[in-house]
């Protein structure tokens, strides 16, 4: 699986769909693919967002999903969750076709308007525990233990008794992360978890997610507007632009040649002060939102 490789990758089926949750797991299962797309075409609102995408993401990989607004990051996530029908092609997770309600996939949507800010962090996290099941929101001993464990995993025990409305963006983000961990997923899809965080919190959040993923052998797809907070921690970059996708290591993908080919227009990769900037010919950053007045946040 290299960036230059244009032939559809052969997906290596996972030996078993069940996951083991030990630190060494990610090494043991090298070679098996967790997420596999074969010639997938996705549309949103009648417009084709991604066309004929083929890629395979190995289990335990930490992938940064990059691309400008409208490039198809959220659409791709929705397709992997089985929420968005595919026009063509097939998507599979752990060797199974994608389906809605797959418990082995944890999803953190983009942070939006807060509903129920008066609830405590504990109640908020608990609402997601088997939240799709019919019945009363009653939490027995096992359920309470699961909520405590999820809170502990993100060091959010101190937030458990505070109303969510009084928490900072970063603290709320931790609660959302705890919710995605409730079902012990093997794949995490995180949509812009760094949005509206300050730079120090961004780095801290990425490091936290990275450590969690390593410890549990989870595959992580994390979309972002800036590559820099992810540098050094991600195994692969999935770069989306102009309906196409490029998957590879940072060294393979974030190069002037590779991105110019992807965009079909001159793009420069500039490295300065240990950071990376993808700059378009006109001078603006390709990934940032600044010159994107009209395009939706939700693509």
């Amino acid at each position: 699986m290299t960036a230059a490789d244009s032939t559809p990758p052969e997906c290596v089926p996972s030996p078993h769909a069940a996951r083991t949750s030990h630190p060494a797991a990610s090494d043991l299962r090298r070679g098996a693919d967790s997420i596999c797309l074969k010639e997938v075409t996705l549309a949103r609102g009648g417009r084709i967002v991604l066309s004929e995408i083929s890629l395979a993401i190995p289990q335990g990989s930490f992938v940064g999903v990059l691309g400008a607004n409208g490039a198809g990051k959220t659409t791709l996530f929705h397709a992997l969750l089985g929420l968005e029908p595919t026009m063509r092609g097939s998507l599979s997770i752990n060797g199974q076709p994608v389906r809605r309600g797959n418990r082995s996939v944890g999803y953190m949507p983009q942070m939006r308007k807060l509903t129920g800010g008066q609830f405590t962090g504990w109640s908020m996290v608990a609402s997601a525990l088997h939240g799709q099941r019919w019945g009363l929101p009653w939490y027995g001993r096992a359920a309470r233990a699961a909520v405590e464990a999820a809170l502990a995993a993100v060091d959010a025990q101190s937030l458990a008794h505070r109303p969510v409305g009084t928490l900072s963006g970063g603290e709320r983000q931790r609660l959302l992360l705890a919710q995605t961990l409730l079902d012990n997923p093997s794949v995490l899809l995180l949509d812009e978890p760094l949005a509206s965080l300050d730079p120090a919190r961004m780095r801290e959040t990425v490091a936290r997610i990275h450590a969690l993923a390593r410890a549990r052998g989870m595959t992580v797809l994390m979309s972002a507007h800036d590559i820099n907070p992810l540098l050094g921690l991600m195994d692969h970059v999935l770069y989306l632009a102009r309906g196409r996708a490029l998957l590879g290591t940072v060294e393979q993908v974030i190069t002037t040649e590779a991105l110019t080919a992807l965009y079909g227009a001159p793009v420069d990769v500039v490295r300065a002060g240990g950071r990376v900037f993808v700059v378009a010919e006109g001078g603006g950053s390709v990934l940032q939102e600044h010159d994107c007045g009209g395009c939706g946040v939700h693509a």
Binding site: V105, T115, F119, P163
Partner: protein, 263 residues
């Protein structure tokens, strides 16, 4: 006051209605759909006056009208339920149609007052049976959907990914709201459904209680306000609806003040 049959009936009716209105209102306030429920009660008014014209019981018309409107609203989704203008239009058209039906009815004045402002002392024992049946149905329904509804309310996208059916929940919940509205209108009238449905729930939601406790507390507070209103109206000879409305507003303000002082 409890030596009178009509008062005992009134207290029982208030109990049945409050136990449903509190918890349903709790979700209504949390979901930001209070205005939608207000519109449902107005469509119910058109239904009730229409039923009177046809010689049917106004309660059947009220419940039927509100139920149909609730289902349609749920099916239409955000295109209607989330839009103030759409809801306002539905509300005013329904009210206008109701006014027309009342005009066509000759014996309109007392019927109109009962429908608009409630007539808890006029509830018949037969009606009580219907209320009991409806309340039981509503509570069972709410008990079944409370968990996914809470999840879908707090985190719609995550809930959908986990397999919750948002549209189904929307329709079911608004149907439930319609039935609760019809029940509530028996006591407070269609114009004051807010008082029992929204005021206690909004007050309880200020308290940061866990969901199940909050649902129970909303039912309790609605009951306290309904019975309080009945009692006060007995001793003052003012309408029950007036007292329930006043208690609802006062409770909401008091909790807010107490929180302001404590903070």
């Amino acid at each position: 006051m409890l030596e009178y049959d009509f008062m005992r009936t009134a207290f029982l009716a208030a109990l049945l209605v409050a136990l449903v209105c509190g918890p349903v209102g709790w979700f209504l306030v949390l979901r930001g759909q209070t205005f939608a429920s207000h519109a449902l009660s107005h469509v119910g008014f058109a239904g009730a006056t229409g039923a009177l014209m046809l010689g049917l019981s106004p309660f059947t018309g009220l419940a039927g009208g509100a139920l149909v409107a609730g289902m349609v609203m749920g099916l239409a989704g955000d295109r209607v339920a989330g839009r103030d203008v759409m809801i306002g239009l539905v509300l005013s058209v329904a009210m206008g149609v109701g006014a027309l039906f009342l005009h066509l009815l000759t014996r309109s004045a007392s019927a109109a007052t009962a429908l608009l402002f409630g007539d808890i002392l006029g509830i018949s024992p037969g009606m009580l049976g219907w209320l009991a049946l409806l309340s039981l149905g509503c509570l069972v329904g709410l008990g079944l959907m409370a968990r996914p509804l809470l999840f879908a309310t707090l985190q719609p996208e995550m809930a959908e990914a986990k397999g919750a059916r948002l549209r189904v929940l929307d329709v079911l919940f608004l149907g439930l709201v319609a039935l609760a509205t019809a029940e509530c209108a028996q006591i407070t009238g269609v114009l004051l459904v807010f008082t029992l449905m929204v005021a206690p729930a909004a007050t309880v939601l200020r308290l940061s209680l866990p969901p199940l406790v909050g649902l129970a507390a909303a039912a309790g507070l609605a009951l306290a306000e309904a019975w309080g209103g009945l009692t006060l109206s007995w001793y003052t000879d003012c309408p029950t609806s007036f007292w329930i409305a006043l208690l609802g507003g006062a409770g909401f303000l008091l909790v807010g003040l107490a929180q302001r002082i404590r903070a």
